[in-house]
Symmetry: C2
Subunit: 337 residues, 2 copies
Amino acid sequence: MKNQLPESMKAVRLSNYEKGFNSLECVAMPLPALKEGQVLIQMAAASINPSDLAFMEGNYGFKKKLPVVPGFEGSGTVVAASGPRAVKQLIGKRVACAASFDGDGSWAQYMAVGASYCLPLKKNVDIESGSSILVNPLTAYVLIEKAKKNGHTAIVQTAAAGALGRMIYRLARREKLEVINIVRRSEQIEIMKEIGAEHVLNSSDDRFDRSLLVLAKKLNATAAFDAVGGKMPALLAATMPTGSTITVYGGLSGETGELHPGILIFKQQTIDGFWLSRWMGGQSPKKMAGISSKIQDMLKTELKTDIRARYPLDKFREALEAYSQNMSGGKVLLLPF
Amino acid sequence: MKNQLPESMKAVRLSNYEKGFNSLECVAMPLPALKEGQVLIQMAAASINPSDLAFMEGNYGFKKKLPVVPGFEGSGTVVAASGPRAVKQLIGKRVACAASFDGDGSWAQYMAVGASYCLPLKKNVDIESGSSILVNPLTAYVLIEKAKKNGHTAIVQTAAAGALGRMIYRLARREKLEVINIVRRSEQIEIMKEIGAEHVLNSSDDRFDRSLLVLAKKLNATAAFDAVGGKMPALLAATMPTGSTITVYGGLSGETGELHPGILIFKQQTIDGFWLSRWMGGQSPKKMAGISSKIQDMLKTELKTDIRARYPLDKFREALEAYSQNMSGGKVLLLPF
């Protein structure tokens, strides 16, 4: 198949972390060269996530060598492969895919990644929906599995009204976990009520700390998933019942927070972190296939992703603007045209 | 025996957290009344620990109702008991004892505590040595057990040159764990070298972060025990290998520190806390008896405590001064005279 491929491709390219979005361009560049164990994916769609925005501004905790194609996930069809039979067998398959740690990402017409970063799509899953099953649905799935495995019966989550927060809520309820949903703006309370959430707290309220303390105690909510960072992890540790675990998986606030040793010591709280890419790297192909299948079966229910708008690659600026203005309002996709 | 007891006793009493040490007095007060399940201990000796100093200044993370007798540990003889046979059987026994969460402490002629906070002393352990086997030796024992249980083969510890730090070092070496010892002053490097420590880093050195990063990677040191707090837990999380656990058990610096969510997320670090009193409360009497026996067998070797000076209760001010001037230089005991 390889000789049917074009010489060059269209891609969005970031050239400067300090200039961030302003350094983005849509350029023509050579197709990526395949390393051993990698597949080449002809992209069908790529989504925009909060982590993409943080990454392009240099706020994502790790940086790739510049210039680089952004985009942490997408979907497409495998058109070439380098490696053993198991890798070559992916040729022709429709896959959801995550970008590798160090290479170019999904906002391009082609992307090369290790075979373990591709999950074949089921026949009943359309390829656009497949572009958004890793960052959000897989994270929600893994976090809820973690809570169940560790015996928690009620959880606290922040950024609850976002796309991922709503998935975490729905998946938790499916698993009979109680959920305390924390939002940052009063209009987000309605979003949560509409999808049936019973416990919603606004962290901007004066009596938020007290309300959380009382409710977390009543429900014995001993696990928290935080996407906000800043003051939030320490606040959760100070407020939740003794012996709780606070798992940080995002830093939407862009801030750091004060950590008082006394909270860790006298309340016996644990604070840890979750990074999907790292987690994926540690899973067996068999386990990933099983999880992938379960997730795809929930794409029309608990893990539903709304697609709000689609833009061709060279309209990336409009796409980013539309997404930034309402990050909770459904996915904005980049299509490889 | 109870009718042989005096009406009142001598005790050190704290009346104000803001005034701290300046609010201490040596007073005559009634003997404590026994609650169900408690024993009354005629004290033989009480030690001074860093946690006592923090507690009296209101910096210990929890406060008791004032006025209160300070002192978290000591030793003595059980002279009365209230409760079932298992509690009454302690009468006449020489015990090491920890103060209860909410009541008066050990810097007095008598102390009342729950039976589970008493560990009978072996015949070959003198009662003064028994006054210092909980806060330091038991903490060292439990932390090293935790490291072993979680499969770590090398650890990092801060405040390494203190009494507890030296115990942690010796116990870790007995268990074949490699230890990176962090001290805060150059003269403490010698203290560690004298007891045979191979890896000693000074956190005041310019290149400390880099040295720790290189050494922790080389030894694969994936567990840390921190007594300093402040910037240290976050620094350890940023510097130690991915997937490490930082356990905070003290806040000697009296400071809080900035926690960056990215460290938790991208390095998959876990930060938790350890509080001996809480831990003790969760153990079975049988398990505690087993641990107590092991610890007492090491009091002349790995868990050796030097006693530097002894003061009667009414010389508490001199005792505190002597201790504060050199907290690493051996225990200062308060004797009930």
